[in-house]
C-alpha cells in the first residue's frame, strides 16, 4: 500500500479514533515512512539535512524508528519566509512547484508571515483530517449548531477560526454551515463588539449548540451576561471548544480549572464538555481534548516528546511515556513540504501508542507543557517579546502556560513552591 493510500484509509475511516490499535499503528507507520521516503526523494534541501542528521529512509523499519526521522524547526519556516527570497521557499517543497495552489501564512511572533506551501491533494486531506478530529473527538453531530465567540472568517484572519469553520463545512457542507453557524462578534462600524442578543436568539431556536472561541472570549461574554443579569443554560450535549489561548490577554489568564468553572457557571456547560484544542501551526492541525481532558493524536500523526539536549542527534531520542521532552509532530498528509516539525515546546505522552484512553478512543494522548521560561540572567528581554506561539495565525504573542515540571537544571527538591499552577493540559496560548 502506498503511503497516500495509507493516509486516505486512516482519514476516511468512519471513526479513525476507534480503529483497532494494531491496524492503526500499521497504517500510521506506512503513511509516515512513505511520507519520509517521498520528501527524501523529492526535496534536495531536506535530503541534505537528513544526511547531516545521519538518517536515510531504509533505516525506518518499524514504528520505533520513526523518531529517527529528521525534524525541521518551526523557526526555519519563519526564517525562510521572513528573510529569504521566494526562491528559498521553492527549494523546500517536495512537489513540482506548479502544483502549489495555495500558501497558508501565519504571522508568528516576529510579525513577519511564515508561509507554508500546499498542493491540492494535501489541502483536501488536511480539511478532511481536521473535520474528522472535530467529529470524532469533539463528538459532534451533523445537525449540531455552533456559535463562534469571534468574528466570521472573513473578518478574523486567525487560523483557529478559519480552520474550525472549514472543519464544520467539510463535515456538513457549505450551505448547512451557513445555516448552522453564527458569529457572536460584529465588526460593523470598525469596532468589534459582542452581539449578545444574537447569541440568545440562536440559542432560543433550540437544538444542540456548541460554542467555540479563545478562552478570553468566554470570559468576556460571561461578564456581559452577568452584568445584564442574563442567565444562559445550554443543553447537556452542548460543548465549549476553546483554542488559541490568551494571546494579548495574558494578564487576564486563569487556570484551566477556573476556566471550566467559569464556563459551567456562565453557560451551564459541564466540565467534561469543555474541550480545549491544541493548535499545531506548522502542520495546520490540532489535538482536541476528550471528556477526560486528554489531547488526542490522530492515528495518521506521530507525536512524541524528545530528549532536551543541545546535541542535535539527541532529538532522535524519544522520552518514555509520562516523561517530558521537546514535542515533535510528524504528519504524512502534507506532501508539499516535510511536515516533521519541532517548535521547541514541551510535552509528554499521557497515553501510549498501544493504549486506549478512558474515553474509548485510541492513543496516543499528549499533555502539553508550553515553554519552561528560563528566568536566569538579564539578557532576556527578547525572550519575553518573542515567545513563540504554536497556533498563532494572528501574530499575537504566546501565553505563559507553565511547564509540567520545573526542568531547571538547578533542581530545587524542597521545600518547593508549587509548580504548574493548574495549567495541566492547557493549550499553550
Amino acid at each position: 500500500m502506498g503511503y497516500l493510500e495509507a493516509c486516505d484509509t486512516l482519514i476516511n475511516e468512519p471513526n479513525p479514533f476507534r480503529m483497532d490499535i494494531e491496524r492503526a499503528n500499521t497504517l500510521r507507520f506506512e503513511a509516515i515512512r512513505g511520507s519520509f521516503e517521498h520528501h527524501y526523494a523529492n526535496n534536495g534541501i531536506y535530503r541534505d539535512f537528513c544526511k547531516a542528521m545521519n538518517v536515510k529512509p531504509d533505516e525506518i523499519k518499524t514504528l520505533d524508528d520513526v523518531p529517527k526521522i529528521a525534524l525541521i524547526t518551526s523557526e526555519f519556516f519563519k526564517q525562510i519566509s521572513a528573510y529569504s527570497d521566494e526562491k528559498d521557499l521553492k527549494r523546500i517543497i517536495s512537489v513540482p512547484p506548479e502544483s502549489i495552489i495555495k500558501h497558508f501564512t501565519t504571522s508568528g511572533t516576529t510579525g513577519k508571515p511564515s508561509k507554508y506551501p500546499f498542493d491540492r491533494d494535501s489541502l483536501i486531506r488536511l480539511s478532511k483530517s481536521n473535520a474528522q478530529i472535530l467529529k470524532c473527538i469533539g463528538d459532534v453531530s451533523d445537525d449540531d449548531k455552533y456559535i463562534f465567540l469571534t468574528a466570521d472568517p472573513e473578518h478574523t484572519p486567525t487560523g483557529l477560526v478559519q480552520g474550525m469553520y472549514q472543519s464544520i463545512e467539510t463535515n456538513i457542507g457549505k450551505e448547512r454551515a451557513k445555516e448552522q453557524v453564527r458569529f457572536a462578534v460584529s465588526t460593523e462600524g470598525g469596532k468589534s463588539h459582542y452581539q449578545i442578543d444574537k447569541i440568545l436568539n440562536f440559542l432560543g431556536e433550540g437544538g444542540v449548540v456548541h460554542l467555540f472561541g479563545p478562552p478570553f472570549a468566554y470570559q468576556d461574554v460571561a461578564k456581559t451576561l452577568k452584568s445584564s443579569k442574563t442567565e444562559v443554560k445550554m443543553g447537556e450535549h452542548s460543548k465549549a471548544f476553546t483554542s488559541g489561548g490568551w494571546k494579548g490577554r495574558q494578564h487576564e489568564m486563569i487556570t484551566p480549572r477556573e476556566l471550566n468553572a467559569m464556563i459551567k457557571d456562565a453557560y451551564g456547560i459541564e466540565e467534561c464538555n469543555v474541550r480545549d484544542g491544541l493548535g499545531l501551526t506548522d502542520v495546520f492541525s490540532w489535538l482536541l481534548e476528550c471528556e477526560h481532558k486528554r489531547k488526542h493524536v490522530p492515528p495518521w500523526m506521530h507525536v512524541s516528546p524528545r530528549l532536551e539536549s543541545d546535541n542535535m542527534e539527541d532529538i532522535k531520542i524519544m522520552m518514555p511515556q509520562g516523561q517530558q521532552g521537546v514535542i515533535a509532530f510528524l504528519t504524512p498528509i502534507i506532501s508539499s513540504y516535510p511536515a516533521f516539525i519541532t517548535t521547541g515546546d514541551l510535552g509528554l505522552l499521557t497515553t501510549g501508542f498501544d493504549e486506549k484512553c478512558e474515553c474509548g478512543n485510541i492513543g496516543p494522548t499528549v499533555k502539553y507543557g508550553g515553554r519552561s521560561g528560563d528566568p536566569r540572567g538579564c539578557a532576556l528581554v527578547e525572550m519575553e517579546k518573542m515567545q513563540r506561539s504554536i497556533f498563532d495565525m494572528s501574530g499575537s504573542k504566546a501565553g505563559s502556560a507553565k511547564p509540567i515540571d520545573d526542568p531547571a537544571a538547578t533542581t530545587q527538591r524542597g521545600p518547593k513552591p508549587p509548580v504548574n499552577n493548574g495549567y495541566e493540559g492547557h493549550a499553550m496560548l
Binding site: I45, D48, F49, A52, M53, L71, I72, T73, E75, F76, Q79, I80, A82, Y83, S84, D88, R91, I92, T110, E308, S309, D310, N311, M312, D314, I315, V326, T342, G344, L346, R371, S372, G373, D374, P375, R376, G377, C378, A379, L380, V381, E382, M383, E384, M386, R388, S400, P407, A408, A409, T410, T411, Q412, R413, G414, P415, P417, P418
Partner: protein, 472 residues
C-alpha cells in the same frame, strides 16, 4: 555542601528550612528561614533601628573602608566565606567554578574603598555630604539616603548585581533589605557576613532572605515588604518586565519605585580592523565578552555585526571567534545549561543546519558554545549560554537600521573601528534607545562602579535627598 542563604539580625527568631540544589557541579543544602510576614517585619524594624543607632552616625569613608576590607577578605581564596561561595555558588547559579571565581574577583575589585569613594565623588560631588553639611555651590549642603531600600532580584544567575544593590544602599546610609532570587540566595548572605566580620555594626543595617516571588503563599509577606513602604523608602527591582510589573502593582504608590529591566548588548566591527594582524586579538576579546557569565548579563553581546571588505571576511571572523570561544570553553567552561536552553540550542542548530543546506549560513560548535554566521541576518531570540550570531554587513551604517526592532533594550555596544568611525558610531549609538555604555570588544564586562547603569546615576531617581543651608 551546606551554606547559609540568609542574613538576618540577631535576636530575630525564625523557623529554618532547607533549600536543596543539585546540578552537574554537585549538591548543596542552603539554610534559609521560612519566609513570613512576621519575619520580614521584625527584620526590617531591626535594620531600620540599626541604621538610626549606628549607620547614620558612621562616617561614609568608614563605611567604604569596612566594605572595602570585606571585599579584600573575599578576594582571598582561603577566606572561609570565599570558600563557601566557590563551593556552593556553582550549584546555585549554574556558573562553572572558574567562571564564578572570575565573577567574584571582579566584584571584590569593584568594591575597594578607593573605587567606592570614586563612585560617590562622581555621583554626589563630595561623599561627605552624607556625613553633614559641607560647602557647596548652594551654600552648604548635606545628603540623606532613603530610610530603607528594598532590593528585589528577579533575574538571577548573574552574581554581583545583588551585591551592587546592597553596597550602594549602605554607602548612602540606607538600611537595606534584599530579596535575592530564590534560585540563587547565597551571595547577599556571603557578602553581608563578610562585612559583619569586619564591622558588625554596619552589617546590622542590612538583611537578606529569599522567597519565591509572586507565589500566592507569600502574598502577605509581599504586601508588607512592598506595600508597607512609605515615602521615605524605596523599592529597587532588577528583573524581567513581567516581574517588574507584578511587583510594581504591589508597591505603595508613595514609595519610590525604581526598575532595571532586562537589557542586551551587541558588537560591531569595521573592516579596517579586520586585518590578519588584528583578528586573533579581536576574536579573543569578543569571545571573552560573549563567554563571561555565559552571556547572561545585560551587557553580554548576543549579536556581532561584521563589515565586509576587510582583509578578513565576516565569515572568517566567525570562524576565528569560534576558535577563541573553544579555547575559553576549556579554561572558563560553560556552566550548567537549563533543559530549556538545551532544547532551544538544539532547535537553533537544526534551523541553521537547514539554512546551511540552502547556502544561507554556516555554523561552528566551539566547546560549550555555538556560533552562527547568518547571511540572512535573522532576528532570532537570543538563547544566551554562549550562542552568538555573527551577521555580515556591507557597511556599518546598516547596523542602526538592523537593530531597530530591539534598540530600546540595548545597553552596551562594543565598537571595533578606526578612531574616526569609533567616534562616529559612538555618537550614533548614544542617541539610540537606552544605550548607556559604549566601549571596545573585550571591555564590555569591565566597568567601574561610577558607571551610569542603564543611563542613570546610581542615586538618581530620588534615592538621595538633599538639604541646602545658607547661613546669613
Amino acid at each position: 555542601m551546606n551554606a547559609k542563604g540568609y542574613f538576618i539580625p540577631e535576636g530575630v527568631g525564625f523557623e529554618p528550612e532547607t533549600l536543596f540544589f543539585r546540578n552537574k557541579f554537585g549538591e548543596a543544602e542552603i539554610e534559609a528561614p521560612r519566609p513570613t510576614r512576621e519575619l520580614a517585619q521584625q527584620t526590617i524594624e531591626k535594620i531600620e533601628l540599626a541604621r538610626e543607632n549606628h549607620l547614620l552616625g558612621t562616617p561614609v569613608r568608614k563605611i567604604a573602608e569596612s566594605i572595602g576590607r570585606a571585599s579584600q577578605n573575599l578576594s582571598d581564596k582561603n577566606y572561609y566565606l570565599r570558600k563557601e561561595a566557590e563551593e556552593t555558588m556553582p550549584i546555585t547559579t549554574g556558573l562553572s567554578p572558574p567562571m564564578l571565581s572570575v565573577g567574584i574577583d571582579g566584584l571584590t575589585r569593584m568594591f575597594r574603598k578607593d573605587k567606592m569613594l570614586e563612585m560617590l565623588y562622581s555621583e554626589l560631588g563630595n561623599p561627605e555630604y552624607l556625613d553633614g553639611f559641607r560647602e557647596s555651590k548652594a551654600g552648604e549642603s548635606r545628603a540623606f539616603g532613603k530610610n530603607l531600600i528594598v532590593n528585589v532580584f528577579g533575574s538571577g544567575g548573574v552574581p554581583g548585581l545583588q551585591v551592587i544593590g546592597i553596597v550602594n544602599g549602605l554607602l548612602i546610609k540606607s538600611a537595606v533589605f534584599s530579596k535575592p532570587d530564590s534560585g540563587e540566595p547565597n551571595l547577599p548572605s556571603i557578602y553581608l557576613r563578610a562585612i559583619a566580620d569586619v564591622d558588625p555594626k554596619i552589617a546590622e543595617a542590612a538583611a537578606a532572605f529569599p522567597w519565591k516571588g509572586g507565589s500566592p503563599e507569600y502574598a502577605d509577606l509581599e504586601a508588607y515588604v512592598f506595600g508597607g513602604r512609605g515615602n521615605k523608602d524605596a523599592v529597587v527591582i532588577y528583573g524581567s518586565n513581567e516581574t517588574i510589573m507584578e511587583v510594581g502593582k504591589k508597591v505603595n504608590p508613595e514609595c519610590k519605585f525604581i526598575a532595571y529591566p532586562p537589557r542586551t548588548g551587541l558588537i560591531m566591527i569595521g573592516k579596517e580592523k579586520l586585518t590578519k594582524g588584528n583578528v586573533t586579538s579581536l576574536s579573543r576579546r569578543a569571545a571573552m565578552d560573549v563567554c563571561i557569565y555565559d552571556q547572561k548579563a545585560c551587557f553580554s553581546p548576543q549579536r556581532i555585526y561584521v563589515e565586509a571588505g576587510g582583509e578578513v571576511s565576516p565569515e572568517e571572523f566567525a570562524h576565528a571567534l569560534s576558535n577563541e570561544m573553544d579555547k575559553l570553553g576549556k579554561t572558563l567552561p560553560v556552566g550548567q545549561l537549563t533543559d530549556y536552553a538545551k532544547a532551544r540550542i538544539n532547535e537553533r542548530k537544526r534551523t541553521y543546519q537547514l539554512q546551511k543546506a540552502l547556502g544561507n549560513a554556516e555554523f561552528f560548535n566551539p566547546e560549550g558554545g555555538f556560533v552562527v554566521f547568518d547571511r540572512n541576518r535573522a532576528l532570532e531570540t537570543p538563547i544566551t549560554y554562549r550562542t552568538v550570531h555573527v551577521m555580515p554587513v556591507e557597511n556599518l551604517s546598516e547596523v542602526p537600521v538592523l537593530i531597530k526592532p530591539f534598540e530600546g533594550h540595548i545597553q552596551a555596544v562594543g565598537i571595533e573601528a578606526g578612531d574616526k568611525r569609533f567616534e562616529e558610531y559612538s555618537d550614533i549609538f548614544s542617541r539610540i534607545g537606552d544605550t548607556s555604555r559604549i566601549t571596545t570588544p573585550g571591555n564590555m564586562y569591565i566597568f567601574p562602579p561610577a558607571i551610569h547603569h542603564d543611563g542613570r546615576r546610581n542615586y538618581d531617581d530620588g534615592l538621595v535627598r538633599w538639604v541646602d543651608r545658607i547661613k546669613k
